[in-house]
Symmetry: C2
Subunit: 299 residues, 2 copies
DNA sequence: ATCATACGATAGAAAACACCTATCGATATG
DNA sequence: CATATCGATAGGTGTTTTCTATCGTATGAT
């Protein structure tokens, strides 16, 4: 039964019987049969298919919702029992938005000190991807914006507030200022993340709110790429202050990190984890760690 | 997997492999094998047994906790999908403490008007039994005291407050009074419920608090039995006012229902249901009904 | 229109699994 | 010490699961 529900979850992820089967480690007929068995046991069609996967029926969506919960609970149960015997062992899968990647360390370092046998997989993802991956049980926790898009069924722990700075060479236009307005920033050619990133959309919105039409010279989904450009002092960018500090971009002779005002925008970033009660022990420990370090990060 | 968890739940209920197997509709070796498979899959012993069932290991208790949730969710899922197709159909299992039995009608009657295809099984149980049966998924909801013993993981809807009256013949001692004190009641021989009922313990405590040693002439776990005795006018009892009214005991020529004061004791009675989110559709509808009628019952 | 391709359903065989009956061994009970 | 009770074990049987191979259909390209 639970295996069949896993089939259904895989199908929801992959939207493709063959790939879903592969993800589950079974052949396509096996997965097809599994889905059909679910349908027969419920007496309802769950998947609309016409020679290929189309989508889920309303009933299918409901079952999917339950399946996420039941499968998640089953995994949490296994993990908890295992932890009772062997302590906290396993792999924690975390996803973070690019601008928060540098902050993951503030969680993982103390976590590892407490639980040295836990391994980490940390992925760079968009805020939307983080939420869907949380839903699909593909990650255990995420680091993302808490106050913008609706989060869904998650527990959130606020960690810090993202405030924006203009990173620019000291001898470039605006480079001598103690503060700049968004209207002024909008006139400078910028390196930013790609538009699928919420950070980019936030910044672009702030720029547009001034009435200007911002000019994005260079965009990338990789912070390393933006970093390497900005560090030369020949490119400007808008970055969260804390991130720029972590990257050492505020300490160079060439570069200045200038507070941007009017409005003094900020967004809360925090840890999100599935709203399961109780959580898996690994995740619970991460949330505990987050609550512990949050006071040292929030202002 | 889920079937095995059901085995475990049955074993927790019956504390006996053979009876648990019978309850699950399988033979004892099958159930034994199922438990053993769970143990092997977790790599931990779940049940302490030495030639017979003893108890659950700590790990077993944890698994049991998860099993309750997972099995409950699986059932809720089935019911919800079924309800999507066929509307609210099925059987609602309710347990109520004896003094609340007469109030069940205030929920079931409007419920049935809304959902005529739902059948009911209503059992008379002690407040403790109600809570364990809720835990074990043997009932869908209960009617019991909300403000005395700890309730556990349930959602509670207060329905009404139980206040106490002395039921006594008009020509008996105290029969002419407009109000009596608990101290006075303590001197009258009474018919009450058996001591496993919380109502009995509540009333007896109130009587003892006066310093007296109450005299219980007759006790029973059946309200019908108490009713038939009290109705003759030859026996006295202490009953919740609302119950006495429902039974018509306050309208006879012979009998009087006298408010008991000093202290003016009262206890909240309400609907309890498993704290599952979302609930099964049948249970959710019952809780909704309770919230609807509560204002008409509470004072 | 025709062909090629991708996708999911179906058929049939082999393997795995679950469940049963019968029985054993151990431990309480008289 | 005899007996009954309980749960584990053994062995056999029927079902279920899963595999490989193939089919039918829709889609897209030529």
């Amino acid at each position: 039964m639970i295996d069949k529900l896993e089939f259904l979850l895989a199908l929801a992820r992959e939207k493709h019987f063959g790939r879903a089967a592969e993800a589950c480690g079974v052949t396509q007929p096996t997965l097809s049969a599994g889905i059909k068995q679910l349908e027969e046991s419920f007496g309802v069609l769950l998947v609309n298919r016409g020679s290929r996967f189309q989508d889920f029926t309303p009933e299918g969506e409901r079952v999917l919702d339950w399946a996420r919960r039941i499968v998640g609970d089953a995994r949490a149960m296994r993990q908890e029992v295992h932890a009772l015997k062997h302590g906290l062992v396993g792999r924690l899968r975390i996803a973070a938005i690019p601008t928060a990647l540098a902050m993951v360390e503030t969680l993982t370092t103390p976590y590892r000190a407490r639980h040295p046998d836990v391994q980490f997989t940390i992925l760079s993802r968009t805020s939307l991807e983080i939420l869907t991956h949380l839903e699909n049980l593909e990650i255990d926790a995420g680091l993302t914006y808490l106050d913008n898009e609706p989060l869904g069924r998650v527990t959130a722990v606020p960690l810090y507030r993202e405030r924006y700075r203009l990173l620019v060479a000291a001898d470039a236009p605006l480079g001598d200022r103690d503060a700049v307005t968004w209207a002024e920033v909008a006139k400078v050619p910028l390196c930013l993340l790609t538009p699928d990133m919420q950070n980019r959309r936030i910044i672009e919105q702030l720029l547009r709110d001034t009435g200007a039409d911002p000019h994005i010279t260079l965009e990338s989904n990789s912070m390393i790429l933006l970093y390497s450009h900005v560090r030369t002092g020949r490119w400007a960018s808008v970055m969260p202050q804390r991130l720029a500090a972590t990257l050492g971009l505020t300490d160079t002779n060439m570069l200045r990190a200038i507070p941007i005002v009017e409005p003094e925008a900020s967004h809360t970033i925090g840890l999100v984890a599935p709203a399961r009660e109780p959580m898996t022990p690994l995740t619970a420990a991460l949330v505990a760690e987050a609550r512990r370090v949050a006071p040292t990060l929030m202002d």
